[in-house]
Each structure stands twice: as structure tokens, then as C-alpha cells.
Symmetry: C2
């Protein structure tokens, strides 16, 4: 069973393992593949957003962050980023985190959720976001330097919550 809860400082060892695994691939996130542990801590455990972890049998298998996509007059739209460790894939953890984040966004008063940088070659994620009600509202040509494929397009995805 997957349980999802706010992250605590003590979770960062596990979060870092997942962050490093994901970012090192250079195929889904813009974070530098060589991002250090300290940099990852500043990015992912920032006070400016809420960090969550997804656990199976008390083991952390995924993590996500939730925040306003813009400040001020754009702060009613949420943004989230999800990471699942390589071993945890294919078990519904991404889906569970996304559903959780939509609930949380609703609870916090956001009216919509927007993903700014969905790499167009990340087909599994795009298929999942579509199943969960997101649609592609924009295409950014050549906006991502994929580690293997070079410059690839990026989608902006959106749904009301």
C-alpha cells in the first residue's frame, strides 16, 4: 500500500537517492545531472514549497513538491514535480502522488495545476498526466537538452483541480 505524507528532514537521505537517480538520467528534469547533494537539498527541501514522500512498507519510493506556479497575481495556479526511484517504477507511485497533489492543491485553494516542462520524449509520464485529466496547452520547441537525444520539444500541461 502506498502512503503519502509531508517530508521531514530525516527523509532527505532517501529523497537524495531518488533525486540523484532521476536527475542523473538527464531525460526528464532540467536540473543539472551533476547536481550535488547540497544543491538538491536547497532545491527540493526549500521552504518555498511543500515536499512530500510516498512510502511502501515504510520505505520511501517517491517524492514530490507542490507550490504556486507563479507569485502574486498568478499564485492561484499550482505547480508540482514528481520523482520515483528506478526500483519503484511501474507500481502506480507516480499516479498516487499526482492524485494526492491534486487533492492537496484543491485543499490549499489552487484552481488549477500546471506543469511547465514536460519533456516530449517522456511518453509514460505524458500518458499518465493525460489519464489524470491534464491536457497539453503549449509546445516549446527544442526547449530541453536531453542527455541522449539532444534538443527535444517540451510540453506545458494543465488541468483545473
Amino acid at each position: 500500500m502506498i502512503t503519502i505524507r509531508p517530508a521531514e528532514e530525516a527523509d532527505f537521505d532517501a529523497i537524495w537517492r531518488i533525486f540523484h537517480e532521476v536527475v542523473q538520467q538527464g531525460d526528464t528534469y532540467t536540473y543539472d545531472p551533476e547536481t550535488t547533494r547540497d544543491q538538491a537539498h536547497s532545491i527540493w527541501m526549500s521552504d518555498e514549497h511543500t515536499t512530500y514522500v510516498a512510502c511502501v512498507d515504510d520505505e520511501i519510493v517517491g517524492t514530490y513538491i507542490l507550490k504556486p506556479n507563479q507569485r502574486g497575481l498568478g499564485s492561484h495556479v499550482a505547480n508540482a514535480g514528481y520523482m520515483v526511484g528506478i526500483e519503484g517504477r511501474g507500481k502506480g507511485i507516480g499516479r498516487a502522488m499526482c492524485e494526492h497533489s491534486l487533492q492537496e492543491a484543491r485543499r490549499m485553494g489552487f484552481i488549477a495545476m500546471q506543469f511547465n516542462m514536460v519533456v516530449s520524449t517522456n511518453e509514460a509520464a505524458i500518458a499518465l498526466w493525460k489519464k489524470l485529466g491534464f491536457s497539453i496547452v503549449g509546445t516549446l520547441p527544442h526547449a530541453f537538452r536531453h542527455k541522449e537525444l539532444g534538443l527535444v520539444d517540451v510540453y506545458v500541461m494543465h488541468r483545473f483541480v
Copy 2:
């Protein structure tokens, strides 16, 4: 004649007047209309981007910032934000700054320029960006809380440089 140069700390009095005038309108930028001078300084004079001023007869009439739109694997796309004081409008200052920023972006090695939050009711700006080669690559429904009009759509605009 319009001249454009990097901003210096001593320019901030003039920049603040423009920033405050523009942001207070609540119709083009997400920055809180009540943004203070100190907050504006942190935002607009940040070390994380380059700040420019546009002058007519040594008077500062406009200002813009230029930066990577994303870090890491998205850092090859530039982002810019332009502000013209109310008195300076209709004199080609926005156009001059945009053309200057495209040159600067090219010089710095960016391959494209992207605007993330073009408020759909800002027709003058949209017409200008289109004339300068930008196109709408995305539409974010209800993503901006316009001070007068309430929730309005936002465009993502893009061009290669």
C-alpha cells in the same frame, strides 16, 4: 534617440518609479501590485539576471531583465521582461528594448526567447511581440488575476533568436 545599456545601482531610483507604475496597474505582471521598493530591488536588480535601462536624452524611460528561462538542461532558452513608464509609452521604447534583448540573447549563446506569462488582454504587447517574430505557443486558461478583469488567460510566446 533611445540608448540601451546595462543598469547600475544608481539607476534604481528611476527603475523603481517605472516598476511601481507598471506593477501597481495589476494588468501585465504577476508581481504583487503592493510590491515594496526593497522587494522590487531584490526582484529586478538580482544577480541572477542582467538588468538594462533604456534612456532618451539621459532620462531612464524603460528597463528590462534578461535571463535563462530555466536552469540546467533548459538554460539555452532566454526569458526577458520589459517595463516602460507611463509617460514613455507609444515611442518605440518597448520595441527597442525587445530588439536589444534579442541581440543580447544571441550574443550570450541562447537559441530562443520565451515569455511565460503574456496576459491575453495586453493587446499592444502581444501585437508588438508578433511583429518582432514571436508566436503564441501555449495558452494557460485563467492563469492571471487581472486587477480590473478578474481571471484572464495567459499566453506563452516564443521565437528562435
